[in-house]
Symmetry: C2
Subunit: 473 residues, 2 copies
């Protein structure tokens, strides 16, 4: 157990703001349990559930935060007698209570009584833990028969009554990052910067993709960070969630790297794409510059009141315009976007919320990403958009347009048929771009009252700047 | 999904040997599900449960192997329509069935009927999955009311009837490594070697421990491996399961590094201890050489028929002799060991089984580590010994003696009282060794009909050899 990196006032203020939104409703936040890898004692690196972490700053397996107003307590498993031998000295519960700013830390066995004293299980608001075992214990303790959404919430639990209120209150808080959050997000992005530069430097034809991944993650590990998500390091950028890095990099390949750090729980999420040889081919360069323009155009629109879906559509228009300019698509841009022609080459959304989670608060399904009354489109491409809110100052979002030549799309008549039949898609011209498989350029952007702040601005992204850094290790 | 690294004959032979031991009893092995990190889609790196992996060679979330004799099938979730878009092309089920050597691969929805056709839920033997959710599904499907041991099996499930038979059959197989297993274990150790050398080279006073950890794990990642367990990289080697690497290394510190790779599921487990400055102090050198002698003496006894507990006690004797020689303990070695005096400085066991799991088959509690009729000692120190079998040719074990100055032990009158009172422990002399906090030297050793084979022999371990490698990066 380590003390929180930041002062108790950070967590006290967050709990106070939560309580102000909740009124006289007690809330219980569960940190979640250890996850076994191949047997109980060989665990994955532990991370508290983000809601608990937001309000306490500590990674504490099995702990539960319970309280309302200014009165909060943590319930936790008391240290075992031989803990000092196996895991060394830990801060005392008194030290932890002071560092987190809670009234007391009590044995987990007291939790049930404390819940009853707070008005009973039905009166206490909670958010489901993410680990199945923790969730089951929590559901049993609090008498919650959580069902799962079968709609656009992607398997998220159905929340009702005080749980739904708590979800809305947490979302309202976590959507707009306070100074303490921003400080850690900036550090996380800075570590990602160092990683990406190391990855560019380590790229060399004939090596395996995993060599670049190793160079990047080394910088994370050296700074005490885990990757915030499975790093994507692949010459097959057209495989959108490519988890493999075992291919050999060839001189003519583009390498797509989507990697970010988890710094004390806060995520960065950065993508850059660079030529393995340090030199773009003319076709690679042409599409790269289109993606870059889409990235810049979308970022420019990140401002309070902007609807995120419109920012997505801005990127789609720039991409379509570029594809028309190079002759891959034919037609009028607005009409191409309306028909979803861009999605043949840009099937995903332009970004998502960023915070403690790389897709922030996705444990609540689309409740955080979609404003009340908005739901996912059924159109191919737009349906993958994870965020459709009107932006507010203080939100941090990713902006990550891309262009991909995905066989599973381009060989699917159900998707390409309309565009093949009317000549929108020029397949002959497209064939000239076969050395482009996938390009994405992703930045982390803070919405402010003034111009958008690109947190990842220090990570080079023009074709010339990126190419110059390749292979310099 | 990747095809197995090794040929189908490897897995066919293992399933045949399992079936020969089981007789006409069908068995169902569960790969286990994905484990969420902070939300459902952000998962930890997946690894099949080791029993499933041993018989199939693939990491396949949610898959189930069912069969008997030469007839085996895998039940799995059919690919989703948009898998090709998000995770790229995968081998077909036909290709997978051929590569694994099973008769067929069928949709998971068919499993219940297949179990009924195999004689019903009670007739099918199984081993509990490790992920709580998978285990709950499995228990429901097969009607298993698994309780948990509250004895020395450390929370392992109570197995009865065909499940217990299957456990014994799997243990018999996995205790003695076949050629295919040995090949991967050797590769895993070789990757650990490269990692340890990189760690030694990267060690420099003033840097954080995590810098060394990063240098080691970089070599793992570059070769497509995860760490087989949370790497221990610490100047506080006296904290036995130290998971933190945030301390700054000082010139006078020893750095203890316990790190191994997971190579296609197979674990290495190596510890070396080196001086941060590249130079041992005389007191550090004196205790280092005692640990090294204990390591060599114990390894020499790894041969068929040797009882592992005796090998542990051999190491204890060498350690006691050394502590007497340097004046920290007083008395006659055999009597010191009998009284457990060594455990004040060497509280853990001298090693454990090694294979797919770093503590091989620990998911079955002590069933694999302890021969029938043997149970854990209640003596402090000996009670932590994870292995007490008579060795057989083909087994691989770790040999990992150490010496630690653990405040939680040395300040505990319940543990030190008897040795303080009769003058066995010379605290004044001990105080001279304050610059030693923890030393461990761990090798991976194969029992053969001839001399023991030290798989990790290529990793330097004499004080001079190790010191020469420090700080050379």
């Amino acid at each position: 157990m380590l003390l929180p990196l930041q002062g108790s006032e950070v967590f006290t203020a967050r709990r106070r703001r939560l309580a102000a939104r909740m009124g006289p409703v007690p809330a219980a936040l569960f940190a979640g349990d250890l996850s076994p890898r191949n047997y109980a004692a060989n665990i994955y690196p532990y991370r508290s559930h983000s809601h608990f972490l937001y309000l306490t700053g500590v990674h504490w397996p099995g702990a539960v935060l319970l309280g309302e107003g200014d009165e909060w307590e943590i319930f936790a498993t008391p240290p075992a007698p031989d803990d000092a031998l196996w895991i060394g000295p830990s801060p005392s519960w008194e030290q932890l209570a002071a560092a987190i700013g809670v009234q007391a830390i009590r044995p987990l066995g007291d939790l049930q009584d404390a819940v009853m004293a707070s008005g009973g299980t039905a009166a206490v608001a909670t958010l489901p833990a993410v680990q199945p075992r923790s969730r089951a214990c929590q559901a049993a303790l609090l008498g919650r028969p959580w069902g799962l959404h079968d709609d656009g919430h992607h398997g998220a639990p159905v929340l009702e009554g005080p749980d739904a209120e708590l979800a809305e209150a947490m979302i309202a808080l976590r959507l707009v990052h306070d100074q303490a959050a921003l400080e850690l997000l900036r550090s996380s992005v800075e570590i990602a910067r160092v990683g990406h530069l190391a990855g560019m430097a380590a790229t060399t034809p004939g090596a395996r993709e995993s060599v670049v991944r190793a160079a990047i993650e080394r910088e994370f590990t050296a700074r005490g960070c885990a990757p915030a998500y499975g790093s994507i390091v692949s010459v097959h950028g057209e495989v959108l969630h490519n988890e493999h890095s075992h291919h050999t990099m060839a001189a003519g390949d583009l390498l797509l790297v989507d990697a970010g750090a988890d710094f004390h729980g806060w995520a960065s999420d950065i993508t850059r794409t660079w030529p393995v040889s340090g030199q773009f081919s003319p076709t690679q360069r042409a599409l790269y510059d289109i993606v870059l323009q889409a990235n810049l155009d979308a970022i420019e629109r990140v401002r309070p009141g902007a609807r995120y879906r419109d920012i997505h559509l801005t990127a789609c228009r720039t991409l379509c315009q570029g594809l028309v300019d190079v002759g891959i698509l034919r037609g009028e841009v607005d009409s191409l976007v309306e028909r979803g022609a861009h999605a043949l080459f840009f099937p995903h959304g332009v970004g998502h919320l960023l915070g403690l989670d790389v897709h922030d608060m996705e444990d609540l399904g689309d409740r955080a990403g979609y404003a009340p009354g908005r739901t996912r489109s059924r159109q191919f491409g737009l349906g993958y958009l994870r965020l459709d809110r009107d932006l507010e100052a203080g939100m941090v979002v990713t902006i990550e347009p891309g262009l991909y030549l995905v066989p599973a799309i381009l060989n699917d008549p159900a998707l390409t048929g309309p565009f093949d039949r009317d000549g929108t898609l020029d397949r002959e011209r497209l064939a000239a771009f076969a050395d482009v498989r996938g390009i994405r350029i992703e930045d982390d952007v803070r919405c402010t009252e003034d111009a958008p702040e690109v947190l990842s601005a220090a990570i080079p992204k023009t074709a010339d700047a990126v190419a110059k850094l390749v292979g310099t290790a």
